[in-house]
Structure formats: C-alpha cells, structure tokens
Subunit: 139 residues, 4 copies
Amino acid sequence: MLKLIASVDVEVPFHDVDAMNVAWHGHYLKYFELARCALLRLFDYDYPQMQASGFLWPIVECHLKYVRPALYSQKLRVEATLLEYENRIRIGYLIRDIDSGERLTKGYTVQVAVDATTRELQFVSPAIVLNNLEKACAR
Amino acid sequence: MLKLIASVDVEVPFHDVDAMNVAWHGHYLKYFELARCALLRLFDYDYPQMQASGFLWPIVECHLKYVRPALYSQKLRVEATLLEYENRIRIGYLIRDIDSGERLTKGYTVQVAVDATTRELQFVSPAIVLNNLEKACAR
Amino acid sequence: MLKLIASVDVEVPFHDVDAMNVAWHGHYLKYFELARCALLRLFDYDYPQMQASGFLWPIVECHLKYVRPALYSQKLRVEATLLEYENRIRIGYLIRDIDSGERLTKGYTVQVAVDATTRELQFVSPAIVLNNLEKACAR
Amino acid sequence: MLKLIASVDVEVPFHDVDAMNVAWHGHYLKYFELARCALLRLFDYDYPQMQASGFLWPIVECHLKYVRPALYSQKLRVEATLLEYENRIRIGYLIRDIDSGERLTKGYTVQVAVDATTRELQFVSPAIVLNNLEKACAR
C-alpha cells in the first residue's frame, strides 16, 4: 500500500466566520479541498491532469466531524492522507490548530472516476493513477 | 417520537457551478442549511430563538452522499427531516430534482447544545426543544 | 432604447451572515447575479445561450454601494435593469427590503463579449444580443 | 499623509473557479479582504481591535475592475494601500500575477465607523485610528 500525505496551512478569514463567531461548518470542505489538491499534486494528478487523462473524479461522499470550533485568524494545519486508490480515491483529513496541535476537525472524501466522454463510472481506477503513484513514491 | 419535515426549493445558481460544470460538492451544505432552518422554524427554534434561549447549537457532524450531479439552473427540492431531538438534533436531508423526482444527494447533520455563557456541552437537549416541538406538533 | 427589468427575491441565509451579524458585503455580488440571470433570461441570453452563441461575457467592472445592512432571514427584492447593450452589457441593481421598501444596496456590473474560440474582445455586441432583445420587447 | 501598504499571496483554489474556467468575479472581494486585514493589522486595527474599540466599520462601497481573468492554481499577489483614514477608511487594491507581474484586477473599498452601541455613523474617524497609525508609522 502506497502512502502519501500532504498538508496546507490555512488562516481562518473573516468572510468564513459566521454569526456565532466561528468558522461556518460548510467552509471546512474548502479547507479539505486545498489539502486534497496538494495531495493530488504529489502524484501529478490534480484537476488539470485528471481532465487531461480523460476522467472526471466527482466527490461522491463526504464526512466531517467537528471536535472544536475555529475562530477568526486562527492558524490551522490541514493534513490529507491517501487512504484508497485502487477502485476509488479515498482521502482522510485532519485539521489541527497549528500552535497547540489540538485536533479541531476530521473527515474523509471519496471520489470515483467517470469517463469524461461517455460519463461511464469506472469501477477500477484508471491505470494512470497507479502509474503516477508508483512514480511519486519512487522519487 | 414527534416527526417534522420541511422542504425548500433551490435553483442551482451560476456561482455554485464549478469548472466541471456541476454544483461544487461543498455548496450542498448551504442547501442543507436552508432546509434545516425551514425545519427549525416549524418549532420556533431557528438561530435567533436558539440564541435567545441561551444555547448555541454547533454542527458536530455532517455526512453527504452524492448520487447524481446538479447542473446550472437545475431546480432542486431539499427535504429536511427531524430524526433525533432528545439529546442532540439530528436531521436527515434528501435532495431531488423537482421535475423528475430523481434523488441527487442525501445526508445528515448532527448538532449539540452548548450553553452560550459557560460553553458547556449539554448531554440532554434543553427543555425548550421538547416544549416547542410538542406545541408545533399539536398545531 | 429597449428597456428590460427583472427581479428576484432573496432571503438572507445564515451562511451569508458574518461576525457583525449582517450579510457579508461580498455576498451581494451573488444576489446581483441571481437578478442578472433573471434579466438575461428575459431575452434568452443566459449563460448557456451565451456559450451556445460562441461568446463569453466576463464581468469587467462591478460597483456596489451599501446604504443599510441586511440581517439574517431578511427578505430582499433584487431588481436588475438593462442599462446598455450595444457595445457591452451594463446592468444596474437595486436591493430593497421587501416589507418596508427601503433601499439597502445598489450597484452595477459591466460585461463585454469575448469570442469563445479566439478570446478576442468584441467592441460591438454580437448581433444575437440586439436580435434577442428586439424579440423579447416585441412579445 | 501616512502611507501603509500590505500584501498577501493567494493561489486560486478549485472552489473559486466557475464554469468559464476562471475565478468567479465575486470571489475577488475575498482576496481584497485578506489584503485589507493584513493592512489593518499593520496598525493594530483588524476586526477584533475594531470591536474592542467600540466601533464597527461596515463596508459602504466597493469597486472592482477586472483586466485579465485568473485561472485555477494561478498565484496572485494582492496589494492593499491605505488611501484615506481621517473621515473614513478607503483602501485601494491591486492584484497581479506573481510570476509575470501582470495586473489582473484593481479596486477599492470604503468603510465608515459606526458606534457599536448607538449605531450612529461617525463623520470623523475615532481617535484610535490616527493614534494607531502614528504608532505604526513610527516603528
């Protein structure tokens, strides 16, 4: 099993804070996405490369668990870990406060490959995924 | 068990559509919220009433399952069903295409009461929830 | 000069309200867009028809003036008026509180046609704009 | 006239890109805000300090001019310059492509002080603004 982890740092912007003075729960899917793209780039398979390979990878499932709220200007580290890639791409996320290391939010997303032309769902990941992952892990 | 259901209609706006020409997956939490607020209003317990009652109700968990994508200007019906309310508020969601009735997305959210002053987590829902629900169901 | 006006109603959602308890100023561009699309539909020239006609119409200028804030669940009427169409599309916006009629926000946007293939800027609106407008006004 | 400039770097995220494959025009107000907050921090007057000083500073006017579109993953530098502060806070913005230095977007925002308790509009900036600015410029 090839293992890849990427992380990005996010500072909670004012426009993400709601009337309860915390980051609105829906914005975390943006934070997850930033880390997901960083992870996908590790094996050269970010959105532009997906499209160039002839496949779309829609998100088919998301899960989020909020342990502690995040406040305006709080600095967060968002870590994305590749959990599955053979039949679909499943990524786990963990958001921590950078200063204290406290766990704030965790979750996962699942994506499946769809042929960009026929819109047919792929039950096995296209060869490019495994090829790119092997290259990335051999670096 | 008291049962409440509310629904709202949403038309996918241009600013919610991503580069894959479908509603970006994170925006569905906004659609869920519109239906959730409609549901909470059925028992007079929307955000302003929550605050007035001395409690905040942060979302502590979200789940989304995407069955079919939604396109620009597609008309959606978002249905929210109250699933739990005694110890926490758990709401289920189902999004359908209005014209065809096809299921597009489903999910749930979980909220817990937190004392607005002490920030203490409540393991039982404040009395106002059950009181308001009983009044709403008696109408 | 052909004159077209469209309006949409918006209720300020919780996720648009910021830590100051008012709709965050940037969200008004979404409200403008909803009314703009309603206006463009009056002459069959919404985003899908633009693309089908071989042109993109990027926004090149926006102006917003905020007179009064909007609060959670406030009901707004957003009116869009076609102000120019011969060389570019200029639309004016006025947002009022539905109940009181008070003016809350006003502004305008300017869009120009760009050839979807060559990316060349058009200094005169493509013929389809005037044709569609004449048909719409003759209805 | 005291002059302050701050800048932040932004990479266009996937969730900001629209169906035309460019950053949706409304998201630039978020990019402006990131630079504005960096600028306000230079004189210790970001949102938390504003609130602590007893004033809110709602945005009353925004202007945006889009020269060139921004694409997914494009790296932008957003520069905010303090243009007025005596009676209101007026900030100018310039967004450039980091690599080429090309100008992509420019604009300005205007904010006025409102007494947080009485909601009265202040026609002269509260003393804290000038005091903080002088301290910042003396550093």
